[in-house]
Symmetry: C2
Subunit: 556 residues, 2 copies
């Protein structure tokens, strides 16, 4: 069996200008990064803004399991299928983070015959967006410590600097550090830590900004610290938001690449899906809607986190109207939710499936709460039995939801025709009336309660004393009228990763509440969220190489 | 008077493929990064390797002063002048570091009408080479701490990890840090620190490597630490040099841009000029020699550091034969060497000039010791008096060295015609027989003595006990047969920055000796070298902005 990198390197890519041409773009509209990647100039949106919008489709999933669901693969494959069905489809994806590529994960650009290419570039430096974010973030960090070193006119409390440095690397040693050691010329000693770049608030800002001016303003609005009197200190008080915007002048432009079947894919921005909202950029999504007639996008983790934030944060800020949601599941993953151990997942087991499918049931119910039509995509595995497939189909039929078997990993777009037809049918007969599930003007606690009850199925929400105090502080400084960004385990509908399928009778406990004021949301932490991964005993990096003839090995 | 960024933004740039065409390159040979930057494919060298080599000219300077000399400006201007004289000239420069752009310095791409463009890109992310180096460096760092965390089979002594993390930012708070805090899951606590990216050994390696295989091998040869028994631990023992090479697969390709007068400029690599050798890459220089008939390159700081390392390190490894050296001086700077305060530099003062010119005299003598012909370029300032100019001309005539007034800052290539003609004359009647000044097979102390006596004019070399011990250790592990990379103040021929002009009767004191085994040189420190700059009270960043229409302000 061929590896992803082998399939990708055998692909017949079209010169990127040909892909751009499919979208009605000429050479003046693009900026090349090599032969197969380009950025789209910011002027283009102005030129096409009176085009009719295409239809927006979100691909999401059940709560992820170690069995794997293949959400990105289905997203790419569905885009390829749409093209085969005669649609001018555009895929809008997140950019992968460089750090995890060297850890356990390998790359993140779909899989099998449903990949975006050149995958080796997309998974490495791509067009430098991550590096630009790293630079802008760390310029702001350097400005904070420099401000304190040069006299601290703003009275920054060095114990309460909430804006951290970032690096696009899995490096646990940088999680908790002490900086400024070595005496007077090296600044003041304080505790600090690095996050991975995708966890930077700048990344979330890039993905929610409407243009360069908005990006600059949002970066200026970041709460970087609190002063000794307890009031927030904003990035703009350090006067580097202009230089930060200058560093981001190219990163803000959407990137265009293609799938293995030459379907255009805009890959732009990739914030964390827990402490941030986990969606690609609004600018890329809106541009895709002007350039294509169907736009397929995805959101991080399962629908309880990813789709909820897509709706309540991204669609709210971007004024987007999704018209169909594909929920990806695998039979293996549903059996895992039904209590089957990883080693037993290959054995047909309808009973376990019937227990685990309640996770899918809840995700379907949730999507309906936003007034958007769900479709279920069963991402095919060779071990699936007919009986299991039939069971899911019947279950979905009873819920009034259409379902398709999907084999894009092995067959590319061809394997997504059934799914594509169902989605197209929904789009053509659309009666969705999308709306967010809460108003951002409500109190922080009300907003959290709505999400916890309606989406997670929790009984009630508990708060630690610290969280209560943080909420009161945000209210005091009028930083509370923002959407909520829940940071919760992705493995369960609850805040306990071991409660699989569809748990009942549980509470959600809020441990920390802080504002990402530049991005424009309130991060609500229900557990310890790791924002800087580590490397495993044998990192994926150890198998990677580039040979004399340029051949790349070990990237997957 | 127009600022550099204004002049640069008014420039009529040619599409980069036209610039490439002048060098005989077709579209297949280049990889675009936007419309005005490209990388040159690695295959190109194979195609042109049988071309006759062009002539190599080094631009260097007297010891730098606060008055400014304008070495890069003369380098760019001389390239432009050569083009006006009908030569197919190629400029080979270093890439600027991003960090200092936000500090005091602004950009670094020449000045006035002798600049390389697009200067805003060259000074910001350019084609991402610095970011690739940062990533490769920090992957190795993460692998070191991960190795210790995962059981430390190699027995690395966490007190003796000599390979540091890097960031391309001026951030004093990161000079001395403690990492690995927060308990067991976050690794072992140890002291660490960040260097600025251009100080990374990976940068020096990039600039000395002959190809991707050599790059990988050199990265594997880095001494990252010592084990608990005191023996060196090499990067290759951590098995990530393949992944590091993968991260560098594009960074290794030379970058092509143009001057304001459309002269081709290869800008590639930019190592520190103190703890590294301060020259652009050998790969770019060798490629330039195959593509042009005259290649103008420069080296860091004054000739005592820059030219010496260019000859003894870069030319030795690259098998390069420089045929002419331009020594840049300004009358103001020579008067500074003669003891004139900055405020008085505008006043004609032949007496001070006659004292300060001994610095130039020594640099001329030094160049001759390498059997290469020197030329003096007086970079014109409006305050220069005729009497002062005549004095220098006479002085150089007596030394048998040709001298030219140079006004490229105000007039571009036109202002460098006199210099260009002199250089061409030397190249056409070349009788240089370049040779390094010492054999790398000599003992470390002998090599240092040769440089200190012959180049600096020192009486003798003293060693601290620590340095003596370090030399003995390098000899023990057979890491001593490498060229020397002196880290000394750039402001004086001595190791005391306040001894200007041509000091006599001084000793050099060696404080630290360590090996950059991947790069292939021994770093000899004669003082405290700052490898992570800080930001000033009002950083240059505070004035920078990018406006709604894309206009960039404050970059200079």
């Amino acid at each position: 069996m061929k590896s992803d990198i082998q399939i990708a390197q055998e692909a017949k890519m079209e010169p990127i200008k040909n892909v751009a041409e499919k979208l009605g773009l000429c050479e003046e509209d693009i900026e090349y990064y090599g032969k197969y990647k380009c950025k789209i100039s910011l002027d283009v949106y102005e030129k096409v803004k009176n085009n009719k919008n295409g239809k927006l489709v979100l691909v999401t999933a059940i709560n992820p399991t170690p069995a794997g669901e293949g959400k990105s693969t289905v997203t790419v494959g569905l885009g390829q299928a749409m093209n085969k069905l005669g649609k001018n489809a555009v895929i809008a994806l997140r950019e992968p983070s460089l750090g995890p590529v060297f850890g356990v994960k390998g790359g993140a650009a779909g899989g099998g015959y449903a990949q975006v290419v050149p995958m080796e570039d997309i998974n490495l430096h791509f067009t430098g967006d991550m590096h630009a974010i790293t630079s802008a973030n760390n310029l702001l960090s350097a400005a904070i410590d420099n401000h304190i070193h040069q006299g601290n006119v703003l009275g920054i409390d060095s114990r309460r600097i909430v804006f951290k440095r970032v690096m696009d690397m899995n490096d646990r040693a940088l999680r908790h550090i002490v900086v400024g050691m070595g005496g007077k010329v090296n600044g003041f000693v304080r505790e600090d830590g690095f996050n991975i770049t995708v966890a930077s608030e700048i990344m979330a800002i890039l993905c929610l900004a409407s243009d360069l001016e908005d990006l600059k303003q949002r970066m200026g609005n970041i709460v970087v610290a609190y002063n000794l009197e307890g009031a927030p200190v904003y990035a703009k008080e350090l006067e580097v938001q202009g230089a930060m915007a200058l560093l981001m002048k190219d990163a803000i432009k959407p990137n265009l690449v293609q799938t293995l079947e030459n379907t255009p894919a805009l890959i732009h921005g990739g914030p964390f899906a827990n402490i941030a909202h986990g969606c690609n950029s609004i600018m890329a999504t809106k541009l895709a809607l002007k350039l294509g007639d169907v736009v397929i996008t995805e959101a991080g983790f399962g629908a309880d986190l990813g789709a909820e934030k897509f709706f309540d944060i991204k669609c709210r800020y971007g004024d987007l109207t999704p018209e169909c949601v594909v929920i990806v599941a695998t039979i293996r993953a549903l059996k895992h939710h039904g209590g089957v151990a990883k080693a037993e997942l290959n054995v047909p087991n309808v009973e376990a499936l019937s227990k685990g499918i309640t996770n899918l049931e809840k995700q379907i119910e949730n999507i309906k709460k936003f007034n958007v039509k769900p479709v279920v995509a069963i991402n095919k595995f060779i071990t699936d039995s007919n009986e299991e497939v039939e069971f899911i189909k019947e279950f979905c039929n009873k819920m009034g939801v259409q379902v398709a078997l999907c084999d894009v990993w092995a067959k590319g777009g061809e394997g997504g025709i059934e799914l594509g037809n169902i989605v197209l049918n929904i789009l053509e007969n659309n009666d969705s009336k999308f709306a967010p599930i809460y108003s951002k003007e409500e109190s922080i606690e009300n907003k959290i309660t709505t999400i916890a009850r309606e989406i997670y199925g929790a009984d009630k929400v508990n708060y630690t004393l610290a969280a209560k105090k943080q909420i009161a502080e945000l209210e005091k400084f009028e930083l509370d009228k923002l959407p909520i960004c829940m940071a919760k385990t992705q493995y369960s509908l609850s805040d306990n990763p071991s409660l699989l399928a569809r748990p009942n009778g549980f509470d959600i406990t809020v441990k920390e509440v802080r504002v990402s004021n530049g991005a424009g949301f309130i991060v609500v932490q229900t557990g310890d969220i790791m924002t800087m991964p580590g490397l495993p005993k044998v990192p994926a990096a150890n198998k990677m190489d580039v040979l004399k003839d340029g051949e790349i090995v070990g990237l997957f």
